[in-house]
């Protein structure tokens, strides 16, 4: 199965989804869903700095807009509370399943998760351009196809969020702030709600 693709493209770009997920989960990623999303962003900062910032999960809410809070339980475990459509929240416990400092991090949600998910985030040197950060995410769309559609309508779909969160991570690391077009602090708070 691992030679399902005849090219060097990332598995997340594969047109043979099931086979690609099979291959992806043969190595680092635990299987927690049937939808795979991959995104890469180049961030003009050193690799070690980016990894260190990301690895401290208390920082993630600074750029993951849908994260209401992340409680760090111990070095490997954390509890996630994330906004869902209709003013609700979804929660899960995440376990770090593998990690090499400065290079990558793999995680998987634990049994009882509202949205099962797993994935890996890789940090790779990109010379004068900084660091390539690649996130690969496996998840079960909330409440199936209909749930995914509703989530998409409310812009809370995990694939959309992953894309936007990576952009915000880049903005924060490169510029020290997350870009907003809000004109007043009141507008800004409404956007964050």
């Amino acid at each position: 199965m691992s030679d399902v693709n005849t090219d060097d493209a990332p598995l997340s770009a594969s047109k043979h989804t099931a086979a690609a997920i099979y291959t992806a989960t043969e190595s680092l990623i635990e299987k927690r869903g049937d939808t795979m999303v991959g995104r890469a962003v180049t961030i003009n900062r050193p690799r070690a700095e980016l990894f260190a910032y990301f690895r401290d999960f208390t920082n993630l809410a600074h750029f993951m807009e849908n994260v209401e809070r992340i409680e760090v339980i111990d070095a490997k475990r954390s509890h996630w509370v994330v906004k869902a459509p209709g003013g609700r929240t979804v929660e899960w416990d995440a376990l770090i399943t593998d990690e090499v400092g400065g290079e990558y991090l793999a995680w998987a949600s634990q049994p009882g998760a509202d949205i099962a998910n797993s994935g890996r985030i890789d940090f790779r040197d990109a010379g004068a351009r900084g660091t390539v950060v690649t996130a690969t995410l496996l998840y079960d769309p909330p409440y199936g196809v209909v749930g995914k559609l509703i989530a998409k309508l409310f812009q809370r779909e995990p694939a959309i969020q992953a894309r936007r969160d990576l952009r915000r991570f880049k903005q924060l690391m490169e510029t020290g702030e997350v870009a907003t077009a809000a004109r007043t602090r009141k507008q800004f708070e409404e956007e964050m709600a």
């Binding site: 180049t42 003009n44 807009e65 351009r129 900084g130 812009q155 959309i160 894309r163 936007r164 969160d165 952009r167 915000r168 880049k170 903005q171 490169e174 510029t175 020290g176 702030e177 997350v178 870009a179 907003t180 077009a181 809000a182 004109r183 007043t184 602090r185 009141k186 800004f188």
Partner: protein
């Protein structure tokens, strides 16, 4: 504060809205002293730009006085600044290469989706120009919030009249970059389509860069007169056949470089069907795609094509054959305003470039809706409307 807000087709109003505030550390709040209506604002006015919302504050050509600066800003209270229309972070790879209009971080993350879908990658943010370009409030107002204020705004020395430097915000660097993209060599003949502000600044810039002759093409007699004042020869396309005239004026060779600055910049954001609709409904709409075709057709073999005019959708019947067979080079792009500001400010202060000739009307901010209507209805006489919040009502 008072601000010019968009409410729909041909419906702009001066409303009272909440004052802007510092939100991010690198922000500054500018009190506007002068702001201009751009030709591309007319396309918001005409209701052709998608992703506009009622109440949006317009304006991307503006300047003023710093009244508040965030902890990460390098600006000081009381400084006079001109603000680029492109919102760029100064920290990303593209800003490092001075490709400011390609900044990775100027657009809020959520607003990047549309441009990424349309173009493959998102571009920088823009002030006052729909939510596709960020949804940032513009500067046709008493105050404006300027993000990344340590990178964009250029500080103007004391005692310089606003009108001399206001156009650093957009049209002067856009005209300059248009000429730069034409890779002008001494002795060149350069043809410029469109004598709006960008075209007229491209004419001036082309001469400064060593062009021997500039031929300006338009159909508004007053605008052709302005081009002639800077030494350009002119072709009025209502009176003369453009290709035939250019070939004869260049001894059968064609212009060495051609610049398409037919200034309906807003076309940049149109999707196909909207373009088609405009093509049907307006003369300029049909004419402008014609201008790039005509420019490529007239350009000499091995010549250069510069395209400051913004296109965003798809163009019918692009003469790819002529382009390839003649071995032309095309350069284009939204203006990297920040890159050009120091040099152009110096050129203005040394009086190498004149900008004030362009201003035909000066109005109070409260009269802005009248300014839009005037500009919309009479593009021959109304070359540039400058709004001044401090000015008394006419």
């Amino acid at each position: 504060m008072r601000a010019l807000t968009w409410h729909g087709r041909h419906d702009v109003r001066v409303d009272t809205v909440d004052d802007p505030e510092i939100i991010n550390p690198r922000d500054a709040i500018i009190k506007i002293t002068a702001t201009a209506i751009c030709g591309s604002d007319l396309h918001l006015y005409d209701g052709y730009i998608p992703t506009m919302q009622a109440g949006d504050i317009l304006g991307h050509e503006f300047m003023g006085e710093v009244v508040e600066a965030g902890s990460g800003s390098t600006l000081k209270k009381g400084q006079k600044v001109v603000v680029p229309f492109t919102i760029a972070c100064g920290s990303c790879y593209h800003c490092g290469k001075h490709q400011y209009s390609a900044c990775d971080n100027g657009l809020p993350a959520d607003n990047q989706d549309i441009a990424q879908t349309l173009y493959g990658q998102p571009m920088s943010g823009l002030f006052g120009y729909s939510h596709m370009t960020g949804g940032y409030a513009g500067g046709q107002a008493e105050y404006v919030r300027v993000p990344f204020s340590d990178v964009g705004p250029i500080v103007i020395p004391d005692g310089i009249d606003d009108e001399k430097v206001l156009f650093l915000s957009d049209i002067l660097p856009t005209g300059w970059m248009a000429a730069e993209n034409a890779d002008i060599e001494p002795g060149d003949t350069v043809a410029v389509w469109g004598c709006g502000p960008v075209g007229l600044f491209a004419v001036q810039s082309a001469f400064l860069m060593g062009a021997e002759r500039v031929i300006a093409i338009d159909h508004f007699p007053h605008r052709l007169d302005l081009a002639r004042k800077f030494g350009a020869e002119t072709i009025n396309f209502e009176d003369s056949a453009v290709y035939e005239a250019l070939m004869e004026m260049t001894g059968g060779i064609g212009p060495d470089a051609v610049i398409d600055s037919v200034g309906l910049e807003a076309h940049g954001f149109f999707v196909d069907n909207v373009i088609d609709q405009i093509k049907k409904s307006t003369f300029l709409g049909t004419d402008r795609t014609h201008s790039i075709r005509q420019a490529i057709f007239a350009c000499r073999k091995g010549g250069r094509v510069s395209m400051p005019a913004v296109y965003g959708g798809f163009v019918d019947k692009f003469p790819l054959g002529a382009f390839m067979e003649k071995g032309l080079t095309l350069k284009t792009g939204q203006t990297h305003v920040q890159h050009y500001l120091p040099g152009l400010l110096a050129a203005i202060l040394e009086e190498k470039i004149d900008t004030t000739f362009l201003i035909s009307h000066r109005l109070a901010l409260e009269d802005a809706p009248k300014g839009y209507k005037m500009f919309h209805d009479n593009q021959n006489e109304v070359t540039k409307v400058v709004l001044k919040p401090g000015l008394a009502l006419a």
